[in-house]
Structures are given as structure tokens and as C-alpha cells.
Symmetry: C2
């Protein structure tokens, strides 16, 4: 394994002392960068970009070169996993993902299968990882990622994004055997995919449970957490960050996972979260803070850095919004990199 020139993220994940906090930003490779939009336009579509390993590697590297963040995260999409299982989707401009054939019954589930990660569409992202690792030359670690099984299940059963995900949730009540079987299949496919990512060189894995927060605590603990746990148990090669957005009701249970860090949204004060989490934490900054004047932005970040303990990865509580002011993103990163621990 290549030695990393910047090992702040890994050391923080392993709770080793570092002189300063590492920083990277969810969706740092994305629309808020004009350089990204240029590549995206050249390629023509979002899916065209993620199925073009050279270009996907290029936009993955942009924030490392332009923003000087402490980690790269591979440009991809959590929905490549269901696609590889024979549940394809379209990405509609401004509308989000659309599954022409939502999976809501046993007959549809029978058409799905575990992917061959090196033959299916997953190979695009794996190739992009290999190219990115080569081009990074060990400058910073590369983060791979996947969706949590519940979030993938929610999209595949609902058929699209939704405010309520009522199709997805009703299946939990109406057909629990089906739901468990589907969640298990997604879990196994995800593990295969993550093993492939690790083989190609990712240094860290982040699991995104984007729709955790539409579940009650009881349902999250029954339908999401056990499948995240299976993934964490299976992935022993690299450290894992779990981001269950909106699941602040279950921090104590998240803290029991075999993972290295819990990423937090901005709905919980960090000092309250820290009482329930012994692992490294990540995130917690409101993405809208980036719209604030720089003195306010710095004041808020400073407050966060003053009260959090050693083991924290600076990040937002959600992805960067497309209209985040570039100069403020840069200011945030520069400030955090200049803030040395006492």
C-alpha cells in the first residue's frame, strides 16, 4: 500500500493525534465548481460522466487541486448498485432519479441478482478509482462510498425521490419478508461492490443513509441499522464512516457499529452528539453557513472547533449546494487548515 503524504483523515479515523483537523466536503466534486460543470457539459449527462472513468477521475481530482482538501471522494452515485442488480434508473435534469420499473413485489425482486462487479456498470466506477489512485500519487486518501441498504431500497421501491417515501415505507409494514429479502440482496451486492472499490485502492469507505430520517427510531433500528451493521462487519480492510442523515434519535446505536466515524447532520448540537458517540465524528456544519459573510462563517466554524474534542473531521451536515459561493468554500477550507489544535 502506497504511503499517503497527507494522512490526517486516516489518523483521525483511527483516533491518533494530529496537529490539525482534516477537512473535506460532501459533493466537493460537483456542480458548485465551474470546472466540474464544464466537464459535465462536455460529456453531456450525469450518467455519461459517471460511466466515463477518465472524466470521473478528472472531476474527482478537481477539488484536491482547486480546493486543497484533505481527501478525495470518488465521483459516482449510490444508485449504481441497484442498476448493477438489474434495476436501472434514469437521472432526469432537476428532477432526480427515476426508476422505470420500481421493485415492489416478489416477481420484480426475482429479476434482480448479485452483480459481477467487474462486468456490470460498477466497473466504470472501479476503473475511475484505479485512475484516480494513480493520478493522486498518494497526495491525499481516496474515499469510496455506497448508499445504505435502506436508502437504496427506498429509491427502488418508491421509483423516485419523494418527500414521504410512502411506497417504500408501506412495504415495510405490508410485506416485511419481501423487504428483508430485498434489503439483504442490496446488502450483499453492496459488500461485493465495496470489496471491488477496496481492491482498486480506496482508503476509506463512507456509507450514506440519506433517507434514515424519514423512519421512526424503531423502524430505523429494525430496517436500516442491521444492514449497515452487516456491511461494517464485512468490510475490515479500510476504515468506515457512517452518515445516517436525520437519525440523531439513534446515535447510541450507531456508535455500536463496527465503523470508525459517525457523520452528523446540522440538526444536533455537536456537544450533545458527542455525549453519545465515542467514535470519531464528522460534519455537523449547516451547508447554508457558506452563504454567510465570511466573518460569520469563521465565527461559527471557530465555535465548532473550540468545543469539539480531538477526533473530528470537518465537513458539512449534507452535500454542498450547487450555488455555494466558491470564495466562501475556499475560505472555510483555508481557515480549517490554518487552525492548529492546542
Amino acid at each position: 500500500m502506497q504511503t499517503l503524504q497527507n494522512d490526517l483523515l486516516l489518523k483521525t479515523l483511527y483516533q491518533q493525534a494530529t496537529p490539525r483537523y482534516p477537512i473535506w466536503l460532501m459533493r466537493q466534486a460537483g456542480r458548485f465548481l465551474v470546472e466540474y460543470r464544464k466537464v459535465r457539459e462536455e460529456v453531456g449527462s450525469f450518467k455519461g460522466l459517471l460511466e466515463n472513468p477518465e472524466k470521473a477521475a478528472e472531476v474527482t481530482l478537481q477539488p484536491v487541486d482547486i480546493l486543497d482538501v484533505d481527501a478525495a471522494i470518488i465521483f459516482s452515485d449510490i444508485l449504481v448498485v441497484p442498476e448493477s442488480m438489474n434495476c436501472p434508473y434514469l437521472m432526469e435534469e432537476k428532477k432526480g432519479p427515476l426508476f422505470p420499473n420500481p421493485v415492489r413485489d416478489w416477481d420484480s425482486l426475482k429479476n434482480l441478482y448479485l452483480p459481477d462487479v467487474y462486468q456490470s456498470n460498477l466497473r466504470y466506477t472501479l476503473e475511475a478509482i484505479a485512475i484516480t489512485k494513480h493520478k493522486l500519487q498518494g497526495r491525499v486518501p481516496l474515499i469510496g462510498f455506497c448508499g445504505a441498504p435502506w436508502t437504496i431500497f427506498a429509491y427502488c421501491t418508491e421509483g423516485s425521490g419523494s418527500k414521504t417515501f410512502s411506497h417504500a415505507k408501506r412495504l415495510l409494514y405490508l410485506n416485511p419478508e419481501f423487504a428483508h429479502e430485498f434489503l439483504e440482496l442490496i446488502t450483499q451486492a453492496t459488500i461485493l461492490y465495496l470489496k471491488g472499490q477496496i481492491e482498486k485502492g480506496v482508503d476509506v469507505i463512507q456509507i450514506f443513509d440519506t433517507w434514515a430520517g424519514i423512519l421512526s427510531k424503531e423502524d430505523f433500528d429494525s430496517w436500516s441499522l442491521p444492514y449497515i451493521a452487516k456491511i461494517c462487519d464485512a468490510i475490515t480492510e479500510v476504515p468506515i464512516i457512517v452518515f445516517a442523515k436525520g437519525a440523531n434519535f439513534s446515535l447510541e446505536n450507531l456508535n455500536q457499529l463496527k465503523c470508525n466515524a459517525i457523520s452528523l447532520d446540522w440538526n444536533i448540537p455537536i456537544d450533545i452528539a458527542k455525549k453519545q458517540i465515542s467514535k470519531t465524528t464528522q460534519g455537523n456544519l449547516d451547508p447554508c453557513l457558506l452563504y454567510a459573510p465570511q466573518n460569520i462563517l469563521i465565527q461559527k466554524v471557530n465555535h465548532l472547533l473550540e468545543i469539539i474534542p480531538e477526533n473530528h473531521i470537518v465537513n458539512l451536515g449534507h452535500g454542498l449546494y450547487p450555488d455555494a459561493p466558491r470564495e466562501n468554500v475556499i475560505k472555510l477550507i483555508q481557515y480549517v487548515k490554518s487552525f492548529f489544535k492546542k
Copy 2:
């Protein structure tokens, strides 16, 4: 004041003993009822319906007659208040509200004013309240309502619904004086409107802070809670229920309001919420539970009723979804009405 034949809701709000729990459902007068859809189609549009006092009263009474709930809630919309302040909106089918002229600067704010509640569009709802009270003949209490100032501010500045409300939130950081002045104006207009509702006979007020949950605790405590508090301080004639959806990070502060009940979403277990709330509670049931088979639905409701103390109003943690199965809604209501406290 007319004596109520069914005073379960009021007694529960005043923490007086009752033989059983009262039940009503947010959006009980709405799309899930075929009888509502028929009236809505006759009138032609959502706004046409809420500006037609006779028809608005008719749909308000439907759930009392059909579902036998313990309270009526006037059919209206929280956005009638900004409309009365000279910030009109359109209600687009399947898209939600749209404000052609979002209020984002001092110049737009200068065009707004406090409404004459008896001359402006607010008169439609006030007339509907008078008609409903007459037709109810004291069978059950009538609930009036308003949006919390933060939620109204969010719609008026964003211009529409949004996943992030980034326009609204950036104003809090970029122009705090403007934000406070606008929130204050909304607060004063809301108080005038609620006084009008009380004069026409509403027995209870519910304040809906639909978008509380997109704020951090610090921002909720700064930008939403103080204006809800002003309303609670000004309305002393009838009991008040406050529903700040997603604000479970601030239950202790909500409990300090001069209100009678805190309505809860389904993201917090009731026993955890109860540790922070001495007032009456309401809600907490996941609206998706209504999709469950009836035995599961009853099991979950039974669990709730077994563990909560005396002072609870059975309701959902959000409005009824349009496709909630009618037979399950009826089953839920009948079950709660047959459940006698020990």
C-alpha cells in the same frame, strides 16, 4: 360561550382527567376523503375552496360526520396570512405554493402591511369559522390555526417549497435585520388573524412550524422560537398547540412556551420526548402506519397508549397522506375511542 358536548380535547389541553384519549388527525379535512375531493372538484381549485366559506365549512365538518373525530379543524391554509399582507401566492396542482414575487429585500418588504382581517382575504376563513361553529352546534371543539412566522418567512423568501430553503436561510445570515423585521411583521399579522379566529369562535389554536426541522438548534432558538413565543404570549383566550416539525432538538425550550400542548413528529420515541415535556403532548404516530395491516396498526397504537401518561392527544406526526386507506383511518379512530384509560 357555547358548552361543548365533547370536551375531551379541551380537558386534555388543560390537563384535566378524562376517561379516554381524544383523537383528531392533521389534514383530516382533505384529499384522503372522497367526499372532500368531490367538493374540491365542484369548486374547481384549492384556493377557490378556501375562499368559499360555505364549502370550506362543509369540508371542515366532513371528518366530524364521517370519521367521528373529537375535534374539527377549519379548512384553510397557513399561506392566507402572507397573502393578506400583500404577498400573494398561487397553488399549483402537484407542485405546491408559488409566490410570484418572493420577498427578499427591504424594497419588497416595504410593500407589505398588516392586514385588516375583516376586509382582506382572511375574511373568507373567518366566515367559514362562523358558519362551522353554527353548524357544529357544540358537538366538538373547532381548532383554528396559523403557520409559525419562520415557516411563513421561509415560503415568502424562497418563493416556493424547497428541500433546502437556501434562499430563506441565507437571508438569516446575510441580512439579519431584514429577517427580524419581516418575522416581526408576520408575527403581528398572525396575532391579528388569530384574534379574529377567536372572535368567530375557535376553541383551540394550533401553530404549525412545518419547516422548523431545516434549522439547526441554534437557528431555531434564534429565528423561530422567539416569534412563536410572541404569539403564545398574545393569545390568552384559548389553549394553544405548537407543532414544530423536526425540532426535537429543542423540546425543552418548546416546553417553556406559554402554550398548552406540544405536537410531536414520529422521529422521537414518546418516552424520550416526555422526559423533556411537562405539557400535554399530541401526535407522534407515523402517517405511514395507516398503510399497515390493521392488526399491526392497532398493536402500534396500543403500545403508544400503554406507555404515555394521561395528557396526550392522539394524532399523527404529520398530515394524513392523500392515499391513506379510509378503512384504516376509521379503524384507528374507533380503536382510540374504545380505549379507556385505566
